[in-house]
């Protein structure tokens, strides 16, 4: 009798273990944690569209995800004089894993503070209309955007202060991207994490920029087909 009870108990234990391992194997995840909802923060930062749940303070927790892309929207050397308002016209550093695509090449920059002077005013992939919609300037404009910002991925955007990243999110959403999968992480100047890649260094008292470290996406407008 005692032996039967032991046998039954052992059998039950083995069945439970089998079910457990079977469930674990069948539902094996790639280890990615679920992302919090994309939600704009409050205050002045909220006016730039910076995210409340994923921003400079915690982006380190969400780097190197296979289901995501990371884009820094600054120019290597911005035409606008951001030093005039305490900023940095140079891309003096970035967060590891972010690839640089200048927002000024995507659409016109509007609404800069007077002190910085004029922004980049050259060719852009899109033109912003008065009603907030965008019109492609080139036949390849949308496909370039789809390549750089895949719609089937989560998109993390960053820049210096959060402004270009916010403008990029507005552009993408206006063109049909899912706003819930786009996070304006904010600005590199507020980033204090462990994944800084320093670009700027000082040699003999002179500032030197190691732009060769930057994973940079150039857009060659001369090889694109202008929309008539």
């Amino acid at each position: 009798m005692k032996e039967k009870i032991v046998t039954i108990v052992m059998a039950v234990i083995f069945v439970c273990m089998g079910l457990f391992f079977g469930y674990t194997l069948l539902n094996k995840s790639d280890g990615l944690c679920e992302l919090p909802v994309s939600e704009v923060t409050g205050g002045e930062r909220g006016m730039l569209g910076i995210d409340k749940n994923i921003n400079e303070s915690n982006i380190d927790q969400y780097l190197a995800r296979e289901d995501s892309v990371y884009r820094d929207m600054r120019m290597l050397k911005d035409v606008a004089n951001y030093e005039a308002i305490g900023g940095d016209s140079y891309l003096s550093g970035y967060v590891k894993g972010f690839e640089v695509i200048p927002y000024p090449y995507l659409a016109e920059v509007k609404g800069l503070p007077e002190a910085v002077g004029k922004a980049y005013s050259g060719k852009t992939l899109f033109k912003q209309n008065e009603d907030g919609t965008y019109t492609a300037n080139y036949e390849e404009s949308l496909s370039i955007l789809e390549y750089l910002f895949p719609k089937d991925k989560n998109i993390f955007l960053m820049c210096g202060g959060g402004g270009y990243a916010g403008m990029t999110k507005n552009l993408l959403v206006a063109l049909g991207w899912n706003k819930d999968r786009i996070y304006n992480v904010g600005g590199y100047w507020n980033y204090e994490g462990n994944n800084k890649v320093e670009i700027k260094r000082t040699v003999n008292g002179k500032d030197v920029y190691d732009f060769w470290k930057v994973n940079y996406h150039n857009i060659d407008f001369d090889n694109l087909t202008r929309v008539q």
Binding site: T41, G42, G43, E44, M47, G111, G163, N190
Partner: protein
């Protein structure tokens, strides 16, 4: 019996008076003298902040941001001119090297500093502070909670 009633009344009066005094106590203070009758908006460095340890002043830290409806420095400068109160400003990169960065993490911000301590500040991450960045009267009303605007 009569004595007990009188004692109770005196006791109640004392308590009510104490509560009233505590509630209506004015915690406002004066800035250091040099910031009155002075409508300057002066740029300082983090080294200079160290020299203001015993002073009481208003400090504005600013940063680059690429899209903004009304530049908030215009609001603070207008306030400085209208009310003749000097404000010190420091760019964010310099500000990050000061001890105040432990408390104020985002620019732009305005801090009321007394003897090297932040009494109050505007939070760039807080909806409740948006109007103070964009409206002179709202900014002034906020300051008046903490400091005397005239001496």
């Amino acid at each position: 019996m009569k004595n007990r009633i009188i004692t109770a009344i005196v006791f109640i009066v004392i308590i009510v008076s104490t509560v009233y005094i505590v509630i209506t106590k004015d915690d406002r203070f004066y800035l250091s003298d040099e910031y009155y009758n002075n409508n300057s908006f002066s740029e300082i460095t983090s080294d200079q902040v160290d020299g203001l340890i015993n002073k009481k002043y208003i400090l504005y830290t600013y940063n680059n941001y690429c899209s903004f409806t009304i530049p908030c420095d215009k609001i603070f400068q207008k306030f400085s001119e209208d009310y003749n109160i000097g404000i010190l400003s420091i760019n964010y990169e310099q500000f990050k090297t000061t001890s105040f960065y432990k408390t104020v993490k985002y620019a732009p911000s305005v801090m009321i500093i007394s003897n090297n301590k932040i009494v109050a500040y505007l939070d760039a991450d807080n909806n409740n502070d948006v109007d103070k960045y964009q409206n002179v009267d709202a900014f002034k009303n906020w300051l008046e909670k903490y400091i005397y605007l005239e001496k």
